[in-house]
Symmetry: C5
Subunit: 373 residues, 5 copies
Amino acid sequence: MTHPEAVSDAKALIRHLRLRGRLVRRRGKEPGSPPGTLVHTGERRVESMALQTFQYGGATVSERAPTKVAECFPFAGAPLVTWLNVDGLHDVQLIREIGERAGLHPLVVEDVLSTGQRPKVEDYDKQLFIVLRSLAWDEQREEIEEEQLSIVLGDHYVISFQEQPGDEFDPIRARIRNGKGAIRTRGADYLAYQLIDAIVDEYFTLLEKVGDRLAELESEVMTRPDQATIHEIHRLKRELLVMRKAVWPARDLLNSLIRDEFDLVSDHTRIFLRDAYDHAVQVIDTLETMRDLVSGLIDLYLSSVSHRLNEVMKLLTMIATIFIPLTFIAGVYGMNFDTMPELRWRWGYPAVMAIMAVIGVGMLIWFRRKSWL
Amino acid sequence: MTHPEAVSDAKALIRHLRLRGRLVRRRGKEPGSPPGTLVHTGERRVESMALQTFQYGGATVSERAPTKVAECFPFAGAPLVTWLNVDGLHDVQLIREIGERAGLHPLVVEDVLSTGQRPKVEDYDKQLFIVLRSLAWDEQREEIEEEQLSIVLGDHYVISFQEQPGDEFDPIRARIRNGKGAIRTRGADYLAYQLIDAIVDEYFTLLEKVGDRLAELESEVMTRPDQATIHEIHRLKRELLVMRKAVWPARDLLNSLIRDEFDLVSDHTRIFLRDAYDHAVQVIDTLETMRDLVSGLIDLYLSSVSHRLNEVMKLLTMIATIFIPLTFIAGVYGMNFDTMPELRWRWGYPAVMAIMAVIGVGMLIWFRRKSWL
Amino acid sequence: MTHPEAVSDAKALIRHLRLRGRLVRRRGKEPGSPPGTLVHTGERRVESMALQTFQYGGATVSERAPTKVAECFPFAGAPLVTWLNVDGLHDVQLIREIGERAGLHPLVVEDVLSTGQRPKVEDYDKQLFIVLRSLAWDEQREEIEEEQLSIVLGDHYVISFQEQPGDEFDPIRARIRNGKGAIRTRGADYLAYQLIDAIVDEYFTLLEKVGDRLAELESEVMTRPDQATIHEIHRLKRELLVMRKAVWPARDLLNSLIRDEFDLVSDHTRIFLRDAYDHAVQVIDTLETMRDLVSGLIDLYLSSVSHRLNEVMKLLTMIATIFIPLTFIAGVYGMNFDTMPELRWRWGYPAVMAIMAVIGVGMLIWFRRKSWL
Amino acid sequence: MTHPEAVSDAKALIRHLRLRGRLVRRRGKEPGSPPGTLVHTGERRVESMALQTFQYGGATVSERAPTKVAECFPFAGAPLVTWLNVDGLHDVQLIREIGERAGLHPLVVEDVLSTGQRPKVEDYDKQLFIVLRSLAWDEQREEIEEEQLSIVLGDHYVISFQEQPGDEFDPIRARIRNGKGAIRTRGADYLAYQLIDAIVDEYFTLLEKVGDRLAELESEVMTRPDQATIHEIHRLKRELLVMRKAVWPARDLLNSLIRDEFDLVSDHTRIFLRDAYDHAVQVIDTLETMRDLVSGLIDLYLSSVSHRLNEVMKLLTMIATIFIPLTFIAGVYGMNFDTMPELRWRWGYPAVMAIMAVIGVGMLIWFRRKSWL
Amino acid sequence: MTHPEAVSDAKALIRHLRLRGRLVRRRGKEPGSPPGTLVHTGERRVESMALQTFQYGGATVSERAPTKVAECFPFAGAPLVTWLNVDGLHDVQLIREIGERAGLHPLVVEDVLSTGQRPKVEDYDKQLFIVLRSLAWDEQREEIEEEQLSIVLGDHYVISFQEQPGDEFDPIRARIRNGKGAIRTRGADYLAYQLIDAIVDEYFTLLEKVGDRLAELESEVMTRPDQATIHEIHRLKRELLVMRKAVWPARDLLNSLIRDEFDLVSDHTRIFLRDAYDHAVQVIDTLETMRDLVSGLIDLYLSSVSHRLNEVMKLLTMIATIFIPLTFIAGVYGMNFDTMPELRWRWGYPAVMAIMAVIGVGMLIWFRRKSWL
């Protein structure tokens, strides 16, 4: 038998397992394994891993989808920029091979595979290693879907690793193909900027979704709040925390790319990164404002609940206050004493009824005075 | 049929759509479009865009309202200061033309058009790009109306972009025309300062409105709070958050103009900027104090609601406490047992009534002792 | 007809107008007027403005109360220190004249007149401009009275501007007159320190008043809290915010006087300023502790209100729990069925009464077990 | 007699003693004893202390479990790395002997013994002294078990002190034994890094446990919260505070190891430490997010309790509202007046019953309108 | 007549006076008196002031208890260290004399006498002036007793001023006398460190007391919270604030002693000060954790109060829900209509009783379903 509670419990269980997964992502390796041990920790999100390379520069563009790592290397010489994009991370052997051929530090490969990394930038002399978190709204689960994007920036190449194929880079691919914008005339650092910018752009899309949800909840709280409302507010708060964990370090990362004098980032690209930095700060401003609004909503909800309790109590009190004394009077004249002169009076009954009416109406007037009605 | 709830729901919907708009303003371009793509993102607020130029210096003043961009350029030579003001931003082509002729960086033009920018100052060698948010109280919607003001400061010119024509710069125009104050004897940086100062001045006017509202709500909470009060408090809190998002970065901007050694800002103007900086800090101090007061109001409201609940409960309890035992006694003597000697007693009825009176009065005295009455 | 509510509303209105005034003080000029426009913004607090000068040095002291600005200037030569004190600010012309003769920057004069300035120190080459807020407890309004004190420190003179004559500087005047302490042997910077120190000393006096009030409210909350208590707590919180707005920047000001190498401040005086700085920090520590205590009081008040609600509810519940079943039993034997054998039994009535007593006493015992009594 | 309350009190007492122990750990010495006085302050957690040494380098590995301190010293010469691990700290004499032979500063020995140290790194010229707190989940007590790990890093040796033998270092021992990973080819600083990394790894395991608990509590609060739930939330909050106290300073420690130019830490190891630092920051991010979620859970719990109170009150109000008037009517016709014409009417009884039904049903409809049913 | 409330009010008054005294300690002088005016501000805590001197170095120790200041001066020459300890501060003349002979700055003497100083270190070229707050648990008043300890460190002497004789320095005296530890072989700075360390050690003792109290309150809140509990929690919070005000600046003081290059503090002593600094940080960590726990306790208390209110309400509701309808039925059959056929039926009475039983039991079952029982 599956009654609703069991179902809701089961749902809660599933949700809880997901919550844990979202809060804590294990490092890539068993505790105690040596640094550089390669294990993929995220869920396997795609059937098979896919490689894609672009080589471009000025008028030249060549695009390939190699099936073996060997086909991608060595990268084209300096005037050309090579972009190697990897979708899916479960084939550890393949990633390791890329790492070896591209001369990545073992810790970089480990970080690419353990997908719970915090956004950061690390300088390995000839390479910059950048980790970002791509965020998207999962309409079905009504929560934020996180994905790790790892970028290795060399002097004339960019390698990007995604957990699953996404369409956020399609406009960049299109621009490389048709040579729109300045992308083909610039170096690998500009390409890396474009990837970062695409991720930051996604944050705005997400903020809009969350802002919608917030506005919905606000009008719900103001008009007809119920227990589900507060659960939704709590969930929204949680999603804001998830965003926060991704965006704050992304801002630091961008700041570091602008301020620290990395040789691989040209002054020209730095101006564009400053723009991306501004956008990250704007996202953070909005996030923090939303957090304040959410905590305001909780206050509002609680006050609304108190208010309704008050209303109910007032009604109860008024009814009790009016009828309890009247019932008492009726009780008195229901007593069976032999000598109760009022009972024999001709106008006793109407008189008592009149007294009762006076008391009742008097109380109503008193309540109106106290503005309880 | 449109009953009140439907109406209030519709209002809530409209408000919600506006809230979203105020929280998140899309960047100027579709996600994924190349940097420098020009799209205007704000609402179109004016029918047609208007250009206005001033050229002044010492005794010379000339004012024009050109209809084509070409008429504005080239700007007059160095001893004269040129101020080009643009009202309305929807004609992307026109803005682009100004950008090209004035030699603006593509990112500057993009930021001018996407009106959700955070206040900031950016140094482009020969130009300073300053973004500020102008705030005004919209009496009708009872909320803050935001507008983006973009200022480009060159060595002998200022270009300002507004979303809609406003009267906050009229006094500056008047001073240029009639040569009052020192404005005509000073450079373009002083003009830029005057524009910034006018915006910061508006913040004070706004603080007064908000302070009025806060004081009103405080006396409302103290005298006759109801559910609408808490909604108003919440809205006020929201408006304070909107102001905060505009003023904090404005302070940083002013600080940067004073501390960073921008060549375009003279030491003389820096002293005046320090004054504007002080005012921004003063606005922030007041804002934060107001935020503290608002959160105090919420506490006050909740305690006031609890208090009234308490009052109601005390009344209910007293009435129940007095009449429930009396009703029980009446009930006892309403029983129909054959042998109830008290019923036959001559003074039975008066005795019972007297006992009831004693119990009732005793309870009243007890309540007064407990200071419940 | 003026019934109490109207009166309390009127009071609330007055209070509200004052609150606004205390929260937001307009700048000295209309929005849009040029910088340096001179308008006095505070309330006019004195009938007529008063000038007072001291000239001293070693054994020399001369004290005057000139009626015209011209009489004060030029100041005596370098070995002597001149102190010009101005009480009242409404005569803009007079202040302007002082400003011109003393060579003050127009912004300084503007700040002197607009009495809502934030405490700050500004360096104008030959002069230091210091703004402080003097705080005193207004016994009548039971709130903090703020006043702006502006000090201009030159190499051998000090000009001080007060909104109204106060007695906080009388001890300094006495010491100058009778040569007690080191004041006559030291420079203008030491005099400025003495003025600042007198203001900081006032903060301690104020803290004592506020501390008294806090302790009173604490014992009130613990013994017999009512609705007025929470209003008082809220007001106290507001006064603490007012103090905070004045004291925090005063600390920064003192820190700046100690750390920044102003030529006008000698090392000897710096040691004394360090002492004043320590006191300001001490005031801030105490203020923040008080803020924590106030927020604790609010928690305490709310829990106390809940507690009393609980007590009332428990009483109600006990009475209902005891009498409702008994009344039901009485009701049963009040039914008029023809065949109710118990009614005919000889010992029916006493038996029922005994059962009722057992039930009642049993419940009382049960309540005591549950430690509700 | 042991009734449940006594038992729960006894449990509370034990818990309380433990809480005190966890909050405040005495320093190693009596107050007032001279610095360097050696007393062990933690609980004695093992029967007898155990020593274990590794000497390795390239292909050489030798492992011993000496019973006397003298057997451990002197350490092997520079190309070899020596690791001396000490389990258990109660034998003060033994620790003192190690301290003397290894040339430790008296304060280091004191800190090793007083196991309440805060994580820190201290530079003693020829040695780095590192203190960390190892955290593990004690399944039985359902709380975090803390242990102090002290590491002394010399130029070719590492001495580690543990309160009790743990298995967190077994993988490192295994790697030394079988030469897997790079450990044998690197210096003592790399070994120290491995120990630190093992501790940080444990934090992730712990976060998972805590994350599980948090998710469980969240679903509990949403489905069927009771008083125990809030106690559990409070306990979880406490455990988060315990973790926080251990992890924040660990982050600072790692930062210091990376930034400060300690001669004993090579650049190569620094890259790995940066990795450990990233993990510590990730742990902190998650901890802070969890703290936010826990405080959200408390809000949720309270609102859920309010909600249920509301439900109960509504039911009570409805029943009272329906039956109190009806009972009053019945009471009226139970009065014994001689002249009550209705009582004589033929259809009096059915009419009254009908009226009662109408009133009752009317109220039910009214409640449904108010959406209380 | 002294009834309990009056007594508790009087107690509250005393407590309140003490609270004020603890929150705000007047500066040593009347507002407006010149800097360096000497007045003692604390309570007079000892009958007569006592002087004690130690002179030591290597094997030499001499200890005296002079009755006149003149006997203490001049201090012994450089290889010997002189420690002059002064107990009690009310004899201003005596302190002034010490100040003059020891060459103290007037502000130092003023600070020694005004015992509300904030912990700080001040550099007067040839002397360091250190102020600390000694904290002890006053068992009788159940609150923290504060005392100011002022230390003047010269190149070969230490002067310490205490408000009253305390035993916290006895172990130091003992070590000087019997030459245990390194104290006799080191300079005056090491002695100063020992005094500071003794004070910091006291903080740990205090934390244990407070930790005990906290754990007690926690178990009280979880098992049987009442109104007194919340008052105790509030008091504990207050004591934590008192500790905080003393310990945070003590940490800054120690940091300053370590970082700032004071000539009077040798590198050797600096290592020990670093140890004291670590302990101060540890105290602060624990304090802040306790503050979090205390605020958690308040939440717990409030939820526990709500919970009990809920329990009581549920009982009330159940009883009302069961008996109110039954009483109504009884009331119906108590009506005196002539024609009520049920009253004549043979089985009318038992039938009605059975119906009532069915209704009652049905409701009980329903409640159990709703898991209210």
